[in-house]
Assembly symmetry: C2
Homo-oligomer: 217 residues x 2
């Protein structure tokens, strides 16, 4: 299935657009916080929320009582955007300053997972993606918590990636300008874990916390 549609075609700087699943999934899997847009009473709203991917679907979850989830319940359209900011691109001209980034835009209709089994399986997958092995250690969601949690599934059927990498691209005559040019790279790192003050004695810090390698944004 082609992820590129008229609506997801990158028009500005089209050479930065990509529509293959490898590129799109790679960008999605490098993070866990998206910005989800929806229309409520004709107005645009954008909220940050955590997400995860299972195969060809994107999942988000939230309180069943939230405005977002109540608005979206009947299969309303959403736009989910994920962005990683990789660097600041300092060119010789003001106009050619830019940002290095990787972003994905997904359009579609989200549907609610109906059964507790489906919800539990999706939350299991999310937990394992954030911290492999953790699901076996924690207290699982009970009936009341599952009822209070909505899980939305959005098919990865209409999407695009947009990526900028590399040095500044100045106009030919601007390379003579007497000005530093280059890239300031950014990197998001995890820091040493902070154990809860109320941690029971004798519980070692798990490897996934000491050496966090999961998605960071």
């Amino acid at each position: 299935m082609a992820l590129q549609t008229d609506r997801t075609t990158v028009r500005r700087e089209p050479h930065r657009g990509a529509y293959d699943r490898d590129t799109i999934y790679g960008i999605l899997d490098a993070g866990f916080v998206c910005h989800m847009g929806f229309v409520h009473d004709g107005h645009p709203f954008v909220i940050p929320t955590s997400y995860w991917r299972i195969d060809d679907d994107l999942y988000v979850h939230g309180s069943s009582a939230s405005r977002l989830l109540r608005t979206l319940s009947p299969g309303a359209e959403v736009c989910v955007t994920v962005t990683h900011v990789d660097g600041l691109v300092l060119a010789r001209s003001a106009f050619n300053h830019s940002v290095n980034y990787r972003s994905v835009v997904v359009l579609g209709k989200a549907s609610l997972l109906a059964s507790n089994e489906e919800k539990t399986a999706a939350l299991h997958a999310f937990t394992e993606r954030l911290a492999p092995g953790r699901w076996e250690e924690i207290r699982y969601p009970n009936e009341r918590e599952l009822k209070a949690t909505s899980v939305l599934k959005l098919p990865l059927a209409e999407a695009s990636a947009k990526v900028r990498v590399g040095p500044p691209e100045d106009d030919a005559e601007d390379y003579a300008v007497n000005c530093w040019a280059g890239v300031i790279p950014f990197e998001t790192l995890s820091r040493p874990p902070i154990p809860d003050d109320r941690l029971r004695e004798g519980i070692p810090t798990p490897n996934y916390a000491t050496h966090y390698t999961g998605p960071r944004r």
Copy 2:
């Protein structure tokens, strides 16, 4: 003027909401990439774009030819959301897992800056915010470039912040669960600058690049 309106009132976890300009401006000034939502043909769209604040207005810029800018030209409504992800909160129960974050949502109508003088002043302020001192070194935008650049101004009149900090909050009985709990903090750092391959000889790396202290996201 009160930034809190019915639309910007935080309903989920209301104790995490804040509506004072100090909190909101602090979160905005810690970043430079926002997610801007708008409605086009009834559909929600969310695009990442850079932004900056001057006093009580938020600014974004882009190509005059972009879909975003063409859609928004007649003062259409937007939602601008800025999020900083500070940590992963690992609780003893699946349900109480969370994320530490600082986010701001701004609602309102954006208007286009009309004159080249206004545009140039706004772009000057943006450049200085990213890299103090740089504006004096670069080649300024010319007439053609200013025409190709749209700058949108969004009044900071209706907004809210939402912030989560601190350790996991487990249910009382879950503190007995035999499971590690705590926070994995994230931090976005700048790396040593990468000079452009075509940098002229004898140009030193400016201090703002070597010791980058500007907004990172």
